[in-house]
Structures are given as C-alpha cells and as structure tokens.
C-alpha cells in the first residue's frame, strides 16, 4: 500500500510520458499543421511518425513502439470517406479492430492505445486529442506492465 502511494506521487510529479503517434500525411498531419498555424497550444509529449496513409500502418509499428517503451501509441488518419487514397483508412480500421482486441487480451491495458480520425480542417480536434491523450497517460502513469517491452539485456 505504501509503495503504491509512493508510485502515485512520483507519477503525478515527474512523469513525462512518451507517446508515439502514427498519422497519415493528408489528414491528421495536416490537421496538426493547422493546429500550428492556429497557434493552438498542446502538450509536448507526442512524437509523430508520418505515413502517407493509415493504410500503411503495419501492426508491427505499434508493437515496435511498445517494445521501445512507449507509454502509449496514438494512431490517427482521415475520417471514413475522406481517405486521400479512397479506402486506406477502411483497411486500417479493420486491422486495428482486431489488433487492438488482441493486444488487450495480451495485457495492453486500456488507455495505452488510441485511435482517432482527425481531418486537415480539425486543428482544434488535434490539439484537444493530444492534450486528452497526454492527460490520460499521465494520470495512468508509466506503462509498467507493458508486455511488449524489451527487457534490459
């Protein structure tokens, strides 16, 4: 109990989560650009890996990010119907639907994997999303039970 309390305290104070985001070039990356041009301030913990389309996102990317110790992974692309490549996001969605369930079964807890649609026009949504994800991960603390994490060699 004492230990648990100490952990809560440390995570409240000094925990700076590492969040890896996989985003598509045409919608979410552009939405992030718009957040920038609109000077919307948001939490600085997310690092974006840009792909042409969410369809390009292999589940291996997500595993790799966890393996490297990401506290959370965020995946974001064009809204259904808006895919620059017409259907990449639909393909991606099917993959995610199964893969997230599999990860959940394997012990990746709720709040470590986020999915969203952010269009090029949704700068505010992007900023809100980043803030919300960051706040959730901060509240949850470091991803201690990450089953994919590389153990120290």
């Amino acid at each position: 109990m004492t230990q648990a309390t100490t952990q809560t305290e440390t995570k409240a104070e000094g925990f700076e989560p590492r969040i890896v985001a996989f985003v598509c070039n045409w919608c979410t990356y552009a939405g992030a650009d718009l957040a920038g041009t609109s000077r919307l301030q948001y939490a600085p913990h997310v690092r974006i890996v840009k792909l042409p389309c969410t369809g390009r996102i292999d589940p291996l990317f997500i595993l790799k990010a966890y393996e490297g110790g990401a506290d959370a992974v965020l995946v974001s692309g064009c809204h259904p119907g808006d895919c620059h490549y017409t259907s990449g996001n639909y393909h991606a969605r099917r993959r995610w639907t199964i893969f997230r369930r599999l990860l959940s079964l394997a012990g990746v807890e709720e709040g470590r994997l986020f999915f969203s649609w952010v269009s090029a026009a949704e700068g505010q949504k992007f900023a809100d999303l980043i803030n919300d994800v960051t706040a959730q991960v901060k509240a949850a603390g470091p991803f201690k039970h990450n089953p994919a994490r590389r153990q120290a060699w």
């Binding site: 589940p59 291996l60 595993l63 790799k64 393996e67 259904p80 119907g81 259907s87 639909y90 393909h91 969605r93 099917r94 993959r95 995610w96 639907t97 199964i98 893969f99 997230r100 369930r101 599999l102 990860l103 959940s104 079964l105 394997a106 012990g107 990746v108 807890e109 709720e110 986020f114 999915f115 969203s116 649609w117 999303l129 039970h145 990450n146 089953p147 994919a148 994490r149 590389r150 153990q151």
Partner: protein, 271 residues
C-alpha cells in the same frame, strides 16, 4: 480406427490406379502416434489409417516443394483440413484439379470430392463446428483478468517458447516464402527466444491468422513446449466473426477479411 477404413484405402488405391493422383497424403499408425503417410503405389494403401487421433493438418504439406511436385494429389481431410483447402484456394495457393479430397470425420469416410464438392459438403454438413468449450472457458477467465494479470499470464505462457516455429511449420496458412520473423532489413521481431521477441512473434503470428485460421489445432499440437496457441487463434476467429461476420475457410472465393472492408465496419473505439 473408423469403421470404414477399408473404403478410404480402396478409394486411394482407385485414384492411384486410375492415374488421377500421383500421391495420397494420409495417416498411418506408428506405435501410439499417428503420423503422415505418403502413398504413391496402390499396393501401399494398406497402411492408411484414420481416427480422431489424426490431428495433424495435412494441408500444410501443400506448400512443400517435394509434395507439390507430385500434384495432382489426394488428401485425407477432416472438416478443418477441408477448410484449410478452401483458404488455400481463396489465397490462390491451390486450384481445382490439383487436389482431390478424401473426406473423413470421426464417423468415417464420406467420399472422394473435388474442391467445389468439398466446399458444398463443408457448407452443408459442417457449417458450424462448435469450438472446444474448455477453450471458451479459459478465454473467459483470461478476459476477466486485469490487464496486469493478462500480461503476466501470457509472459508465463510464452516464456518456454524456443522459437522453433513448429507452430508455423504445422499450419497450412503459414505458407509465406519467408516469414516476417525472418525478415532482417529491418528486423521487426527479435529472433532471440526472450520476452519481447516471443511476445512480438506470438502477437504477429496470431494476427496473421485473422480471417484465416480454421482452428484445426495443429499448431498447438506441434508445439513442443505446450504453449496454448489455440487460445489466441480462437480469440481472433471469434473476434473476426463478431466484428465482420466472417467465418474462415468456407468460401473458396472469399475475399481476405483483413484486406477488404465495409463502410459500416464498427469503429466505436475511434474518436
């Protein structure tokens, strides 16, 4: 042994005698084991056996060059193996004319079929194969655990994995020329038989079964270390059916489940 084993043997002999196939892939008895039999001469059919202990999925041999070179061939196939043949047809690994089916189940032999006939039989007789109830119970238990407990559970299960890939070798669906785990530029999955590599391997192996696994159980049977792979396979098959209303290995023309889409696929988890 099934009662009408003689009928399997004589059907196999007839196919070989008539030159319709060059090889019959079946099972034989070796002590307490059931092992594959590769029968090329009609006078060898006496070794062919079938009972419920014949769990190996012989459809896996259809990727092996030494076996493919003996096409057209016949396969002794229980319903799950027939489903594998449907998957292999849908994924353009085999075609009508290359494979003849000697259909069996626990009751016995049900005749010689081509792939189209096999599809018909499957959909008429075996449209619903009830999953193992103990599997469902175990899954329910795991799903009731906290994430931490699940994480610990799987790390305990994957721990003895030596990465011998017997699971992959036994699976008819694992027909890649080179498995993703063997790709090394870049090496997504560590080949060291340690926690993270084992986790990634088992996650990706299971995921690559999405929309494809026919739940024959061959991978788990083949695993020397007793890893409960069917828990993952059944889970994925259940989710695929629940989310996309798809059941694997019934339609030789099926579009891949992962690789097709519907506009109204559920997405309540995407904000």
């Amino acid at each position: 042994m099934v009662a009408n084993i003689n009928e399997i043997q004589s059907a196999a002999a007839a196919l070989l005698n008539e030159g319709k196939v060059k090889l019959v892939l079946g099972y034989r008895v070796r002590g307490n084991d059931r092992v594959p039999a590769f029968v090329t001469q009609a006078d060898q059919v006496g070794c062919l056996a079938y009972d419920s202990a014949c769990t190996q999925n012989l459809a896996a041999y259809l990727r092996k060059g030494e076996v493919r070179s003996r096409m057209p061939l016949a396969v002794v196939a229980r319903p799950e193996v027939m489903r594998s043949l449907m998957l292999l047809t849908a994924e353009s690994q085999i075609a009508e004319g290359q494979v003849t089916v000697l259909a069996v189940d626990e009751q016995g032999f049900h005749g010689v079929l081509d792939l189209a006939g096999t599809a018909k039989l499957l959909n008429e007789q075996y449209a619903r194969i009830a999953p193992d109830s103990s599997l469902m119970e175990q899954l329910a238990k795991i799903e009731a655990m906290t994430p931490q407990e699940r994480s610990a559970f799987w790390s305990e299960q994957f721990e003895p994995c030596t990465r011998c890939y017997a699971c992959r070798a036994a699976c008819p669906g694992c027909f890649c020329e080179r498995c993703i785990v063997e790709m090394n530029t870049p090496q997504w999955i560590s080949t060291a038989a340690e926690s993270h590599g084992n986790f990634a391997w088992h996650m990706i192996r299971a995921f690559h079964q999405a929309g494809r696994c026919v739940e024959c159980g061959a991978c788990q049977d083949a695993c020397p270390q007793g890893i409960p792979l069917m828990l993952l396979n059944h889970f994925i098959a259940r989710e695929v059916e629940r989310e996309f209303d798809a059941r694997n290995g019934y339609d030789p023309q099926a579009e891949p489940v992962i690789g097709s889409w519907k506009q109204d696929d559920k997405q309540e988890y995407i904000r």
